[in-house]
């Protein structure tokens, strides 16, 4: 199913807009969710009877419940502004990866069944006039395939004159598919693990505790300072919620060590939680509000149980979006926390604040072996903010990098800030059965990165998203670059920070002469 031969796109100087190649990415889509993964989320085991009608009804319901969806479906004028904005289109040339065409897979069915014009023309047999489309197996196949070639990154929405957000349509389509029994294995399995164990990776408490102890030893070995990585510490001030990949995946874990060092230096007590040992909320990806609420409520419960005063989120893109824009609505109000602090807070805001107040001793020369660039993660860039200042989500991470590294270079303007390209693996696509999609979708980012490597000798790219980090570790080598190029932003902080009482001026680093 997934082992089709494909060629890795070639890196050119510019990000080229390809000529359309219909069906270039006509694939079976990712692995489908098995019955146990469906059941855990309350979805039917397999494709239900009369699914066509159920899908059409669910579509009507979804539109009734979301003004965004309704406006987006009605308003598109097919101007074409978005057609060259999606990284999956740029990397694959399949026209159904153009945002408007992706939307039309949904819109055409909506038009036929749920608009007066569509119903009228349908009766006359004139569906073709407005592109009305019957709900049938080939539509479902296209939905399953092409709605899993969208990372819900919202880049298209930045350029749409009506702000039409394809992500909202992708989410609605995925939820409808789940409801008729066609779920995606990767996302639904992950959500099941969060329900059962508390995090995406299914790390139970014992394993978590063990991992944290191992990391304490690593930090002590490196710095000579013992830093406690507390788990379920009742009465701590701060609850730190991070993506579970931070506990052991590379380069994520180096970022986690960075958070620990910063929190240690701040002198404020903090803790991880077993119950909320996951910042990510994959229910956003599948557009299921009930699951999203259920996952969000764990964080509220953990905060109450541990009696913390503040909640801080680690480096994770969509987790920050959900935390920043959804958490209060889903699980609020959080009025039991200390209201003097933003709820929630991003670890970058916390670190930035300490840097501003000169509470961290930083030695940027420890990162002199690197020339760093920064990858703006899509959900942070286009669906959230940091610091409460306009564009803070762009300036704060860059400020931190500049405080911890001497050599910083930005990638091309049309590939950063709100125009940033997705890593290619977001939105529930970070699974091996979608490797071709991930490789092709990474093309624009790889092009922009390659350009600063060649022009400025960039050696590392920092990111603040667990998915971006995992995706790039895998994709960089495919494009002939070193997988270690991708680093956590707090890994740079971790390198540069001089801990109070630390004896060795420079920690051993094999990269330094």
């Amino acid at each position: 199913m997934t082992n089709r031969e494909y060629t890795v796109p070639q890196l050119f100087k510019n990000i080229e807009t390809p000529k359309i190649q219909p069906d270039a990415m006509k694939l079976p889509g990712p692995f489908k969710s098995k019955s146990n993964h469906q059941q855990a989320l309350g979805f039917p085991d397999a494709l239900i009877d009369n699914w066509q009608q159920k899908a059409v009804d669910a579509m009507g319901q979804a539109v009734k419940e979301s003004r965004g969806l309704r406006v987006f479906l009605d308003s598109c004028v097919k101007c074409g502004a978005c057609t060259d904005k999606c990284h999956y289109y740029l990397g694959s040339a399949d026209p159904k990866n153009m945002p408007v065409a992706r939307q039309d897979l949904f819109r055409n069915v909506y038009r036929k069944y749920h608009t007066p014009a569509g119903r009228f023309l349908s009766k006359l047999g004139l569906d073709w006039l407005i592109g009305g489309q019957e709900m049938n197996q080939s539509v479902l196949d296209d939905w399953y395939n092409y709605y899993h070639q969208c990372s819900e990154c919202r880049r298209c929405a930045v350029y749409c004159p009506y702000g039409i957000d394809t992500a909202e349509i992708t989410m609605a389509a995925r939820n409808i598919m789940s409801e008729i029994g066609v779920g995606q294995k990767y996302s639904n399995e992950v959500i099941g693990k969060v329900y059962k164990v508390g995090n995406n990776l299914g790390l139970p408490e014992a394993a978590l505790r063990d991992t944290l102890e191992g990391l304490e030893e690593d930090i002590e070995e490196e710095t000579g300072i013992f830093i406690k990585l507390p788990l379920d510490q009742v009465g701590a001030d701060i609850l730190l919620v991070t993506p579970s990949a931070d506990f052991f995946a590379e380069p994520h874990v180096d970022g986690l060590i960075g958070y620990a060092k910063v929190l240690h230096e701040s002198g404020i007590s903090w803790t991880f939680s077993t119950r909320a040992s996951e910042a990510a909320n994959f229910a956003l990806f599948i557009g299921n509000d009930e699951s999203m609420r259920k996952i969000a409520l764990r964080i509220r419960e953990a905060a109450i149980d541990l009696g913390v005063k503040r909640i801080i989120f680690g480096e994770c893109g969509h987790a920050w979006r959900v935390a920043y824009n959804y958490l209060e609505t889903l699980a609020g109000p959080f009025d039991f926390l200390d209201t003097r602090f933003p709820m929630p807070q991003h670890i970058c805001e916390f670190t930035h604040d300490l840097i501003q107040r000169n509470q961290l001793t930083l030695d940027p020369s420890r990162n002199d072996d690197k020339t760093v660039t920064f990858h703006d993660s899509c959900n942070v860039a286009r669906a959230s903010n940091m610091g409460g200042i306009s564009g803070g989500q762009f300036s704060i991470p860059r400020d931190i990098i500049r405080a911890t590294c001497h050599n910083y270079v930005d990638m091309a303007k049309d590939t950063t800030h709100e125009s940033t390209f997705c890593c290619g693996g977001g939105g529930g696509l970070l699974t091996d059965d979608l490797m071709e999609v991930r490789v092709k979708g990474a093309l624009p980012r790889m092009t922009a990165l390659n350009n600063v490597v060649e022009a400025h000798g960039v050696t590392h790219m920092a990111a603040i998203c667990a998915i971006c980090k995992s995706q790039f570790s895998k994709i960089l080598p495919v494009y002939g670059m070193d997988m270690d190029m991708i680093v956590s932003l707090h890994q740079l902080v971790s390198n540069a920070i001089v801990l109070t009482g630390q004896k060795t001026e420079k920690p051993e680093s094999p990269l330094l002469p």
């Binding site: 419940e65 308003s75 026209p95 407005i130 009930e290 824009n325 762009f394």
Partner: protein, 238 residues
């Protein structure tokens, strides 16, 4: 013909008023489950107004996206506004002086109106990506607008109609009286096409006009950390 057009315009006026009214009410009353502004977004209401004005008057996002579409789209809409302002004279017994002062410009605007429509049509044929996403209705919409503009220009340049009679006719309709309409074919053509446009407005992509104001990605302020966004969906018992 007088009665035919009177009926047609009354009917079209009813359809567009009720149709758009219904759509606006529908947008208004549909819940917004979450806060989803495209960031960076303004955090205050005046900021949102500014953002919206930038989109509605300047097409800012479109400008970022594609200079050709922006140029053609903006010129089309700006010319259309000028031309439509001029048409207000047909609905007023004593039009204000500024409409007459605007007249030379409005008449000139017919040219960029047609040229930009032609450009948009050409784009739909020439650019493979845009051709792919175009339905027959997208072409027909452009043909309709081109036909309306051309028949109007025809009356301006080749077969002038009795403007006074047209004004009497429409101001009459406003007072529920039917006056005689000049019997010009180009006028009939122009009017019937306009009736068609009015009739399809609330059922077509022309809904982008009210839609843009309700687009949550553009009209929501970025302020969730200051104020809880209330989901209007029923919440499950906790």
């Amino acid at each position: 013909m007088n009665i035919f057009f009177a009926t047609a315009f009354y009917f079209a006026a009813a359809v567009i008023t009720l149709g758009l009214g219904h759509k606006v009410f529908q947008y208004w009353s549909t819940p917004t489950p979450f806060r989803i502004p495209i960031t960076p977004a303004p955090s205050t209401f005046p900021g949102v107004i500014l953002r919206m004005m930038g989109e509605v008057f300047l097409f800012k996002s479109l400008f970022k996206a594609n200079k050709w579409i922006w140029l053609l789209g903006w010129v089309f809409h700006a010319s259309l506004v000028l031309v439509m302002l001029q048409h207000l004279v047909y609905f007023m017994q004593q039009p204000p002086i500024w409409i007459y002062q605007l007249q030379p410009y409005s008449q000139l605007a017919a040219y960029p109106l047609l040229i930009s429509l032609g450009g948009l049509l050409l784009r739909r044929f020439m650019v493979d990506r845009v051709r792919y996403i175009s339905s027959p209705s997208d072409f027909l919409m452009l043909f309709l607008l081109i036909a309306i503009a051309s028949s109007g220009l025809l009356m301006l340049l080749v077969w002038p109609s009795n403007v006074y009679l047209i004004q009497q006719y429409f101001t009459g309709l406003l007072r529920l009286t039917i006056n005689p309409l000049p019997d010009d074919l180009s006028l009939y053509l122009h009017l019937i096409l306009v009736v068609i446009l009015l009739l399809i407005f609330p059922f077509s992509k022309l809904l982008h006009a009210p839609g843009v104001f309700f687009s949550p990605t553009l009209n929501q302020a970025d302020k969730t950390r200051q104020k809880q966004h209330q989901s209007s969906k029923p919440r499950e018992p906790e």
